[in-house]
Symmetry: C2
Subunit: 344 residues, 2 copies
């Protein structure tokens, strides 16, 4: 057995880290505040309005590879992943803060492009950059973004509201971003991407926060729990399960996947189900819906957004049990999930 | 001349960075919002209340040395430097967010101590940690803290309100933190610190945000511009000068310095004036005051805090001119100031 005092952060993982350090902060929280454990913190604002706050840290070598990603895409994505957290709670993002630790060899032209990408998403979403911090870095580029937004308290959706029997649904295709990442990491210099491959790479580099979808869904009382797909539904469902004290069964045939991903899985020998269930960074929304209202909701969603709202499974009373079903039979998907603290 | 497109971040420095990238964000800002360019951003809250938001990034090897600083002190300081920004605007800090990029070899025991230091200041100030992000890091530890607070809009003080004739004052001794840093960096293993040296090291590692002083001063209409001393008054005064469109003259004899710093300057051959004027991280407050009201204010400050409010100089109409006077004569202090982007 390991000596407890010599335990390293790699032994804990991100879930273990939060489980260990968050309770002491949560127990002292005044009522009306929501802290650690959801996509955003929730702070009372005026009247029924609540302030949503979220922050994400992106590190070169962990979340992106500076020498592969274009600075434009990186600027865009740094903001997008934070806005996605606001979308997941049903809010409207308004203000952002950007902190950069910049290695000395970084060119100004690179930063110009980074800000061009950032501003593109800013102007599309009406968000304003209000500040931040900049500093040198000895080694890697580190980006911290904070996004603030507002939401009506009746329309905020948490991870903790799923109930047994709820339909589990997602607002977009799964696995595209993971497919794109595999192509980026496996690509040999000089080799050109096919159209399908280009599509996946673009989906990885330029995620779209589902802000309108989030507001629409959060305004419907039949939508119970909601979060965004950042680590892959396999990880993300476990967070809903833990917060709501329930289980989930997923019908693998029903996972929505793009034609491009199917094609690339065939070509590269990837396991389509594993890519769709465990691939992260799709930044669509994952939600649970009162079962008797799901069909009507999906119709309304289709009329509004011109695409389906795929049901992929159901919430069960089996606390902590995530079951994948193929043709009605439970299957094991193998080694999936991701630990940011791992060395590889 | 350098090829413009190949300009590096080291060629700009932090001021240059802000000057280059902030205008495009500031020009689009809706009225009522204050963005980049002060200690905090200011966002309208309810009634006369405003929300203050600030963020600071601390990087191993740039802002601290992980193998020298105790994790307790680092946790404490990470929060302190952010609360100091809230103090500088006259606000009350309420909520914080903490993001950590953690190298894999980090021990849990180290993090336990980091959080113990953080919580010590939290409980002293009534601040609550509401969230953040944690991730692995390939190389160095990176810490990003966001602090949010509230202030009455009549009691918020900006960098831009200094007027020619104002008295320049500070709420604490200058240079102690820089002295402590010099001792930490120059210390040979095994060598013990004297009492005076220990005092300076403690001042570097455990800064106290001047929250009560900030609120007291901001509530007095004769206090015009205010900010915290983070980069040293030489840098910080230039920010007030730039924001307010004025100059400043500083009487070197009047810079408040501790007996411990004087002693260490003599022992180690440091230039006391340069350490006091250019040393950063004292985290006291730097303010300008309507001259006719200064004496009364200093008396009230003394009655409240049992220490003086030293006047160190005066605001002048000479836009952009920072003049140091010794025995009434202008002097040059030599190579001072700090560029975070420099490689050394």
């Amino acid at each position: 057995m390991k000596n407890k005092s010599r335990l390293k952060i790699t032994d804990l993982g991100e879930f273990g880290f939060i489980a260990r350090f968050s309770p002491s902060f949560l127990k002292k929280l005044p009522s009306g505040l929501v802290g650690i454990g959801d996509d955003c913190a929730v702070i009372p604002w005026k009247g029924r309005k609540k302030l949503l706050v979220t922050t994400d840290l992106l590190i070169d070598g962990v979340h992106f590879l500076k020498d592969r990603v274009s600075p434009f895409d990186l600027g865009h994505k740094s903001l997008a992943v934070n806005l996605s957290d606001i979308a997941a709670m049903g809010g409207t993002p308004l203000w952002a803060f950007l902190s950069l630790a910049i290695p000395p060899e970084t060119e100004i032209a690179w930063l110009d492009e980074f800000f061009r990408g950032w501003r593109k998403l800013e102007s599309r979403t009406g968000v304003h950059l209000l500040g931040g911090d900049t500093t040198g870095s000895r080694n890697s580029l580190a980006i911290t973004v904070v996004a603030l937004g507002l939401a009506d308290s009746r329309h905020i959706r948490y991870r903790s509201s799923a109930r047994p029997g709820d339909i589990v649904a997602v607002t977009g295709n799964l696995g595209d971003s993971e497919g794109g990442l595999r192509l980026i990491l496996g690509n040999r210099p000089g080799k050109k991407f096919s159209a399908a491959e280009k599509y996946l790479v673009q989906r990885h580099y330029r995620p779209r926060p589902h802000l309108e979808e989030g507001r629409f869904l959060a305004s419907r009382p039949e939508v119970r729990a909601m979060m965004d797909v950042s680590d892959g539904i396999d990880s993300d469902l476990r967070r809903i399960m833990e917060s709501s004290g329930c289980g989930v069964k997923i019908y693998l045939e029903q996972l929505p996947v793009s034609a491009a991903l199917q094609k690339c899985c065939r070509q590269h020998g990837w396991n389509l189900e594993a890519v769709a269930a465990a691939g992260g960074e799709d930044y669509c929304l994952l939600l649970t819906v009162a079962p008797e209202k799901f069909t009507v909701l999906a119709e309304k969603f289709f009329r509004r957004f011109r695409r389906p709202l795929p049901a992929i499974g159901q919430v069960t009373p089996d606390r902590g049990k995530l079951v994948y079903l193929r043709a009605g039979r439970p299957v094991v998907l193998g080694n999936i999930g991701f630990n940011h603290f791992r060395r590889d």
